[in-house]
């Protein structure tokens, strides 16, 4: 009850933040205006719309996740609202979990809103439902959940500016997981070891990118169900580990 109360309060507070609402409106607007762009062929038009929709959801989701997760704990400390919360019968782990869940629920609501508009626009344009695109939206959400957990972990000890560069930097490196994976078998042993460290310690955000596979039907995933399940389990487990670390750090932090 306590964790959910904090999550609910965080969600309500986030949904009132103008910057997040602006990002949502811009995202939804770009997806909705997609069909107004002129296209050469119907096939090209569909590919561009799908590509645009998924890219907008990814970028807007990324910004919404980073902004909401970076601020969520430091703002409580800076505004001293944390005093009246932690002086109540609230365990510190409940506070961290509540803040994470509130942030992720915000991201979920926003990605879901953009996803619904995206699927609606595709349905209107193609006169058919495109269930495959839903997989892309779900993968983007999982990617953002993992990023949210990483950002919350950093926010327990790093100031927001440092957190931004750390999280964003790791997100970029983590998206190059195919590159780091290929470097693990490099002839140079130093490069190979470094690549292994990077590849196995940094979250593999690149695993969740299935835009290419969804837009180009010629790219086939061998076992899609396994691929999706693995990615969801990976996101949940990795997030759980990051949250445990965040709780351990926050437990020792003075506020």
């Amino acid at each position: 009850m306590v964790t959910m109360a904090i999550a609910r309060q965080t969600l309500e507070d986030m949904l009132r933040r103008k910057i997040l609402l602006i990002l949502l409106i811009v995202g939804v607007g770009m997806i909705a205006l997609g069909p107004s762009v002129g296209f050469l062929t119907p096939r090209e038009s569909s590919a561009v719309l799908r590509s645009l929709g998924l890219a907008v959801i990814l970028i807007a989701g990324l910004l919404i996740t980073v902004i909401s997760s970076i601020q969520v704990i430091p703002t409580e400390i800076e505004r001293r609202t944390i005093y009246t919360v932690l002086s109540k019968p609230v365990q510190r782990y409940q506070f961290v979990l509540g803040k994470f869940l509130g942030g992720i629920m915000t991201v979920f609501v926003m990605i879901a809103a953009m996803g619904i508009v995206f699927l609606g626009v595709l349905f209107w344009h193609e006169k058919a439902f495109a269930p495959d695109m839903l997989k892309g939206v779900v993968m983007t959400f999982c990617q953002m959940m993992l990023l949210g957990a990483l950002t919350i972990f950093f926010s327990t000890f790093a100031p927001p500016v440092v957190n931004f560069f750390l999280s964003f930097g790791l997100f970029v490196v983590g998206n190059l997981s195919t590159v780091t994976e290929s470097l693990t078998s490099n002839r140079n042993p130093v490069t190979a070891i470094l690549a292994k460290i990077v590849h196995y310690s940094i979250p593999n955000f690149g695993n969740f990118n299935m835009q290419n596979k969804l837009i180009h039907p010629e790219i086939v995933i061998k076992n899609e169900t396994v691929f999706l399940t693995q990615n969801i389990v990976y996101a949940v487990l990795y997030s759980a580990v990051l949250l445990v670390l965040a709780i351990l750090v926050f437990d020792k932090r003075e506020v």
Binding site: V2, A5, R80, Y83, L86, S87, K88, K252, V255
Partner: protein, 310 residues
């Protein structure tokens, strides 16, 4: 009387990274607060009052020492269910309404409905917050209204122990007096109040016992009437000629003189007979011999100055 708060050797040191020196915010503080008393915790700005409260609530951790709050260790969740805290200049979620913010805090106390709503309504009425403001966002509240929300959230769980940190600072005189009355009402309900303040007239009105802290060190503690009662005596007399007043002055005491009336506010008991003899010898009339009571402000200033305060 059972003890609500017991502090033993509590110490908090910070490392000043820039100057590479250790700062002692609270220094070996030992103190007990009994259940049901309104306890004044006095000190100048930066004396260590807020740091002490934050340690007791588990918001920060002591460098040394221990304390029990309602019989539990500092920061214990079970104890926190029975206490409350009003921070200095409290900040709340400004987008939430007064009602919603209390509803949120009620959930943190695991209160279910409809008890939660009933309790919120009672607390808002107790702190005399205008009903029209209940459903308005806090960003539109005045400082006095926010302070009332602060007190309301501190009363929400019907606590046994309240930590109030400068609850009346920055308020207009009416709001100030009303909030002081609310604290008195809380005390009458048998709750323990740990009142950190430098509003000494307020403390003098509401507290039964006080402690004075300076640079983290406890200087003195005791019942208010013991601390303010002096070992000096005040002598008042009428129809005292100027010549007699001069003689009294030669005894080395301070004297206030006005149209034949004299007041010697702080005479040593052994000087009293001499003063009376001089007054009678000059056909004057002694009207009163009273024990001289110091104000809390005098006690505070004397204590801090003696400890090397500037």
């Amino acid at each position: 009387m059972p003890v609500a708060l017991s502090i033993q050797g509590l110490t908090k040191k910070y490392l000043d990274v820039w100057n590479k020196e250790e700062i002692t915010a609270v220094d070996d503080l030992t103190l007990e607060v009994e259940e049901g008393e309104i306890f004044g915790f006095l000190g100048r700005n930066g004396a260590g009052k807020t740091t002490t409260i934050k340690m007791l609530l588990g918001l920060i951790f002591p460098t040394a020492g221990t304390a029990t709050v309602l019989g539990k260790p500092m920061g214990d969740t079970e104890a926190k269910a029975q206490l409350s805290y009003l921070p200095e200049n409290p900040y709340f979620y400004e987008n939430m309404t007064g009602w919603d913010v209390l509803d949120f805090y009620g959930r943190l106390f695991r209160m279910g409905e409809p008890a939660r709503s009933r309790r919120i309504e009672k607390c808002l009425n107790d702190v005399r917050l205008d009903q029209r403001a209940w459903r308005r966002p806090l960003r539109g509240y005045s400082k006095g209204m926010l302070q009332r929300i602060g007190i309301a959230q501190a009363l929400l769980n019907d606590p046994k122990l309240l930590f109030l940190d400068e609850p009346t600072s920055g308020l207009d005189p009416i709001a100030h007096a009303e909030l002081r009355d609310i604290i008195v009402d809380v005390g009458k309900q048998g709750k323990t109040v740990f009142l950190s303040s430098h509003q000494l007239p307020d403390v003098e009105l509401v507290c039964s016992r006080v402690a004075i802290i300076h640079r983290g060190k406890l200087l003195t503690t005791g019942p208010l009437n013991e601390l303010t009662s002096g070992d000096k005596v005040e002598v008042r007399a009428e129809a005292v000629p100027g010549e007699a007043a001069e003689k009294i002055r030669t005894l080395g005491v301070q004297i206030e003189q006005n149209d034949g009336r004299v007041r010697v506010p702080a005479a040593d008991p052994e000087q009293v007979n001499d003063i009376i003899d001089i007054v009678r010898g000059h056909k004057g009339t002694v009207t009163a011999v009273l024990p001289h009571k110091r104000t809390l402000e005098e006690v505070f200033v004397d204590t801090v100055l003696k400890a090397g305060g500037d």
